[in-house]
């Protein structure tokens, strides 16, 4: 168990920059997600932490002590690989017990510890199977057990659910969260799936081209994103072009957006134009004409529990929102849209 601090990590592959000044911290027992599209440097960051590659610049400290000079075999970090990387010639028990071969302890102690971890990941009874005789979900559990058995100071997981089908994904995700919480192990979790990151993390680092675009709690990332990129990567989002008229103080700004004048929250200062984030749940069609915005429904899809609509506002911007499915839409499509300004967020288009 330890805290980890990464500062200004850089890694180049020839002319390509895989990591460009990545700084992150994970407190004791925290699970930190690295979230971003393919190729943004998540795996590279994880491999630097694990010690499989050396960064060109920057530092990694565990409990305040730099570990860059420590080889991966001496770091005591458990790694779960994207393709599992199970030893194909060893059975489940041997795979899980592998890390114990190089540690103190008798054979009986090793066997007891392996059984304990197999119970934790619900694999008892499969001890003598080879990896190729297991399903994807079972292989994933073996990979997790193998990393946990050494009681790692840090758990590193690279897209652990990417190769599982949707139904298994939820199970394994909860399992990972449960064992991580139960053992109070600090963990880094790489994923490109925002829902996964939201559900499992204490903190999320949204990555963009080798940089950290924002590093904060899931709530903050979702509700108060630092820029448009972060918002669009963390769930359904409507973006309204906003002209900032003036700052009202206390984090409030008066803007013109969607054909209306609104007082909204944001993290200024802003120079002229900005982007107003309105998640679908902050928008509602109202029948009494009290909405701040007006527009026309151009598309609607009935999905059972909810009805999705696309509305084109007066200034031409289009937004998506949900309405209760039993409410009929006006025949001419003209609607009044209420914006819950407390759930909107003003942000720059991109942080320079």
């Amino acid at each position: 168990m330890s805290s980890l601090e990464i500062s200004a990590l850089c890694k180049r592959y020839g002319p390509a920059v895989a990591l460009d000044g990545v700084s992150l911290t994970a407190g004791q027992g925290e699970l930190v997600s690295l979230l971003g599209p393919s190729g943004c440097g998540k795996t590279t960051a994880l491999r630097c932490i694990a010690g499989f590659i050396d960064p060109d610049d920057g530092d990694i400290r565990a409990n305040g002590v730099s570990i860059l000079a420590t080889p991966s075999s001496k770091r005591d970090f458990g790694v779960v690989f994207q393709n599992y990387a199970l030893f194909p010639h060893l059975n489940v028990a041997e795979n899980v017990g592998y890390g114990l071969l190089f540690r103190k302890g008798s054979k009986a102690e090793r066997e007891r510890r392996v059984r304990e971890v197999l119970e934790q990941v619900q694999l008892v009874g499969l001890e003598h199977r080879l990896p190729r005789e297991l399903s994807g979900g079972q292989q994933q559990r073996v990979a997790l057990a193998r990393a946990l058995v050494i009681q790692p100071r840090l758990l590193l997981l690279d897209e652990p659910l990417a190769n599982l089908d949707a139904r298994l994904r939820d199970d394994v995700r909860w399992l990972i969260r449960d064992v991580q919480q139960a053992s109070r192990t600090t963990a880094f979790y790489v994923t490109h799936d925002q829902a996964e990151a939201m559900a499992i993390s204490d903190k999320i680092a949204v990555m963009k081209n080798g940089k950290v675009a924002q590093f904060a709690s899931p709530r903050e990332i979702y509700q108060r994103p630092a820029e448009r990129y972060v918002a669009s990567f963390t769930g359904e989002a409507n973006f309204l072009a906003a002209e900032v008229e003036r700052a009202l103080g206390g984090g409030l700004f008066r803007v013109r957006a969607g054909g209306a004048t609104l007082d909204v929250r944001g993290a200024g200062p802003f120079a002229g134009s900005a982007v107003l984030l309105a998640r679908p749940e902050s928008l509602a069609i109202v029948t009494d004409g009290t909405g701040q915005l007006e527009g026309r429904v151009v598309k609607s899809v009935f999905l059972g529990a909810v009805q999705h609509c696309e509305v084109v506002l007066r200034d031409g911007a289009s937004v998506r929102l949900g309405t209760p499915p039993d409410r009929p839409l006006p025949a001419d499509g003209t609607v009044s849209v209420r914006l819950d300004v407390d759930r909107t967020w003003l942000m720059p288009d991109a942080v320079p």
Binding site: F52, P71, S73, V79, F81, F87, H89, Y98, F102
Partner: protein
């Protein structure tokens, strides 16, 4: 029966007969030699005149042939050991090269395969004389190692390439040193290729002719050389008996592969 199913039956039949022909083409020489070695008559002839093992007995009564057989076995064994170890080390080293360098390295390692055996043999002859090993057993041994090496290397390198590099990382992250990773992960996974490479090296060395002819030590002979000498004076089934034993040796090699690693995984 429809026309279509007739057509597919015909093509299946054609396919099967092609395979039968292919096997016949590959096996008839073997069958012929083995049959000839079992004859009770005085001459190599097909079909054999009665069955007996007397020509095998005759082979072992000939001191020169037995000595040549032992020499061949000894040289093949040493070649196998040396090439196995050196090729494994070379193949491991090649893994840490960049992709482009690895291609050149592979070409270098398999060069003896690309150059005519006679040229290699002549080159070796000059070289061995220069370093004072001309016409010695050690010189001959070196020649065999050079020519057996590429087969062994190709087989081992192919097996190593099959190993997911992430296994190395996984093993290391679990606390294994480089040597422990080699011992617990790399070696067991490369074993099929290693065994196959060793068998190839053994059979290659056992069958070499040209190189042996040029490099053979004074007064020493390998089995292929001795058999050739023998056949120029005497066309008796003793030669077929020797050939049969070579065939059995090759089959034994295949059996070893099968037993240790399973043919499916080796090929």
């Amino acid at each position: 029966m429809t026309v279509a199913s007739l057509g597919s039956r015909a093509s299946r039949l054609a396919g099967s007969s092609l395979i039968v022909l292919l096997y016949a083409f590959l096996l008839i020489p073997l069958v012929a030699v083995v049959a000839a070695s079992l004859t009770a008559g005085e001459f190599m002839r097909l079909p054999p005149e009665g069955l007996s093992l007397r020509w095998f007995a005759r082979f072992f009564q000939r001191g020169d042939l037995v000595e040549a057989l032992l020499m061949s076995l000894r040289i093949a064994l040493v070649s196998t050991l040396v090439t196995g170890i050196v090729a494994l080390m070379a193949a491991l080293a090649s893994q840490s090269l960049s992709r482009r360098m690895a291609v050149w390295f592979q070409i270098g390692m398999t060069l003896p395969l690309l150059i005519p055996e006679l040229l290699t043999a002549i080159g070796l002859l000059f070289f061995l004389y220069r370093i004072g090993l001309g016409k010695t057993v050690l010189g001959l041994q070196i020649g065999h190692i050079v020519l057996a090496f590429p087969y062994c290397y190709v087989s081992i390198a192919a097996a190593l390439r099959q190993i997911d590099p992430a296994l190395d990382d996984a093993s290391g992250s679990l606390g294994a040193s480089g040597w422990q990773t080699f011992r617990h992960v790399t070696l067991p996974l490369a074993m099929p290729g290693l065994v196959m490479g060793a068998v190839f090296a053994f059979i290659t060395s056992f069958d070499l002719y040209t190189v042996s002819l040029l490099l053979k030590p004074i007064g020493g002979n390998t089995l292929p050389l001795a058999l050739f000498d023998f056949l120029t004076y005497e066309f008796s089934p003793t030669a077929a008996a020797a050939a049969t034993m070579s065939v059995l040796l090759a089959f034994a090699g295949v059996a070893v592969i099968q037993k240790l690693v399973g043919l499916q995984r080796a090929f």
